[in-house]
């Protein structure tokens, strides 16, 4: 069993126009930059994307927006994409915003074989419109359905040929649930390690969820909002 693909191009080669695609990351942190860049080069169109954000203007998933590759998007926050506003005004993209916890849980449910679940987030808001609301123990909850996708791009710190993945610090975010929720999960890893090198209890995403592993081409990680503390404080 060897899931390692030797080129980023080959890893994304079979993604067709119109595919649904989950993309890991919270803002630019833990986002699969190399896979996104390869897909932009390939020029796949009509994508239905699911991701917490859409990168920023000019970087990450923002490049997919600019290239007109995204037909519709499901996420929780798009405040860094001025381009998106214009595209929405021109009806060039469909956008569905849902609470971040609902996004995370619906993707988790998609990978876990749970078609729907109840959550209190969004009761009384636009999020609840058209959805079943039911009371449990005196409190109201919304029925939310699972999210799945044809493909997922995830970004890990280390990975092995079985597809076992380990994330670093807050770069984990949406990656593990997306790995489980897509039919074909493609993992971009900073470092490919020997099988057996990862501590079995430290593995965040067991290889069963991953179809392809490819080494990242992006060695430099971009910081979205650099905040520093004054010395001595």
């Amino acid at each position: 069993m060897n899931k390692v693909v030797t080129s980023i191009e080959a890893a994304v080669a079979d993604i067709p126009d119109g595919a649904s695609l989950m993309v890991g990351g919270f803002g630019l942190c833990g986002a699969p930059d190399s896979l996104i860049a390869a897909l932009v080069r390939k020029g796949t169109r009509g994508l239905r994307t699911i991701a917490n954000n859409v990168g920023v203007d000019g970087y990450g998933m923002g490049l997919m927006l600019e290239a007109g590759m995204i037909a519709s998007h499901i996420g929780s926050y798009v405040g860094e994409n001025l381009l998106l506003e214009q595209m929405m005004l021109e009806s060039k993209i469909g956008l569905k915003l849902i609470p971040q916890g609902t996004l995370a849980e619906s993707i988790r449910a998609g990978g876990a074989g749970i078609p729907a679940y109840f959550t209190p987030a969004g009761i009384g808001t636009v999020v609840a419109e058209g959805k079943e609301v039911r009371e449990f123990n005196g409190r109201q909850y919304i029925l939310e359905e699972a999210l799945t996708a044809d493909f997922a791009f995830v970004k890990a710190w280390k990975g092995d040929r079985h597809g076992n993945l380990v994330y670093r610090k807050t770069a984990q975010n949406f990656n593990p649930m997306m790995a489980a929720a897509a039919k074909i999960t493609i993992a971009e890893v900073e470092e490919l390690v020997e099988l057996g090198a990862l501590e079995p209890e430290r593995i965040d995403t067991p290889g069963i969820y991953v179809e392809r592993v490819v080494v990242s081409e992006h060695k430099e990680k971009r910081i979205e909002r650099l905040k520093l503390r004054k010395e001595g404080r």
């Binding site: 929780s76 798009v78 916890g101 996004l103 993707i107 209190p120 808001t125 650099l226």
Partner: protein
């Protein structure tokens, strides 16, 4: 009176007063803006653990120059640091923690709060939609929600109202409002004025508020030391 304060002074005052609501061992989630400043004023000796919904429990201060790490950010996407006892997890686990009622206190900003405790802080119709992020999950499930905000808009318009006019983030979710002018509790009878700043009066606070403020007990002066 409060109007004489600079914006920065108002914000610091609000953050200072919010910090007084903290107790040792509290798990707290802080929204973007004024809430982010609260950790600077945690009383000595209290251990308060900050949760960040992007998958971190135990958020430390901003890094020193050269110690910033692109893999270590808060929910505002700002670089942060670890503390002793920090743990990391997925977004699903993070919101399981939030939704499950494990967060003692959530401090958020607001555009409008009304006397039912309804909160509006995520969108203005006609303006660019940014998305609700984790706000709806946080207000629906934190044990207590404090709104930390300037008392009125920059133009002096009311934000504390009988009924929210903007699309809401959560129904009956706000427990307390802390502004540069006052501390206001949301109760079944409406807003109750608990404290006022040393540089204002109950009358001024009422004038800056769009809904009736009840005075059920002697109004104290806001503790700001």
């Amino acid at each position: 009176m409060s109007a004489a304060l600079t914006d920065a002074q108002k914000r610091e005052r609000i953050a200072r007063r919010v910090a007084k609501e903290l107790q040792d061992g509290y798990y707290v989630n802080l929204g973007i803006g004024i809430p982010t400043m609260v950790p600077n004023f945690v009383p000595a000796g209290l251990e308060v653990i900050i949760q960040s919904e992007n998958g971190m429990l135990g958020v430390g201060p901003y890094p020193k120059e050269g110690e910033e790490d692109p893999d270590l950010i808060n929910a505002g996407k700002e670089t942060v640091t670890e503390i002793q006892g920090t743990s990391y997890f997925s977004s699903a686990e993070s919101f399981a923690m939030i939704r499950g009622g494990h967060i003692d206190l959530s401090v958020l900003g607001a555009m409008e709060v009304d006397e039912s405790g309804d909160l509006a802080n995520w969108m203005v119709p006609g303006k660019m939609v940014k998305g609700m992020g984790g706000a709806m999950d946080l207000v629906a499930s934190a044990r207590r929600v404090i709104i930390a905000m300037e008392h009125t808009t920059k133009k002096g318009a009311h934000k504390i109202l009988p009924k929210c006019t903007l699309p809401i983030t959560g129904l009956k979710v706000v427990d307390t409002i802390i502004t540069e002018m006052a501390v206001i509790r949301v109760t079944p009878r409406g807003f109750v004025l608990l404290e006022i700043a040393p540089d204002t009066t109950a009358e001024e606070v009422q004038k800056a508020t769009g809904a009736k403020l009840h005075l059920e007990q002697p109004v104290r002066t806001m503790a700001l030391d």
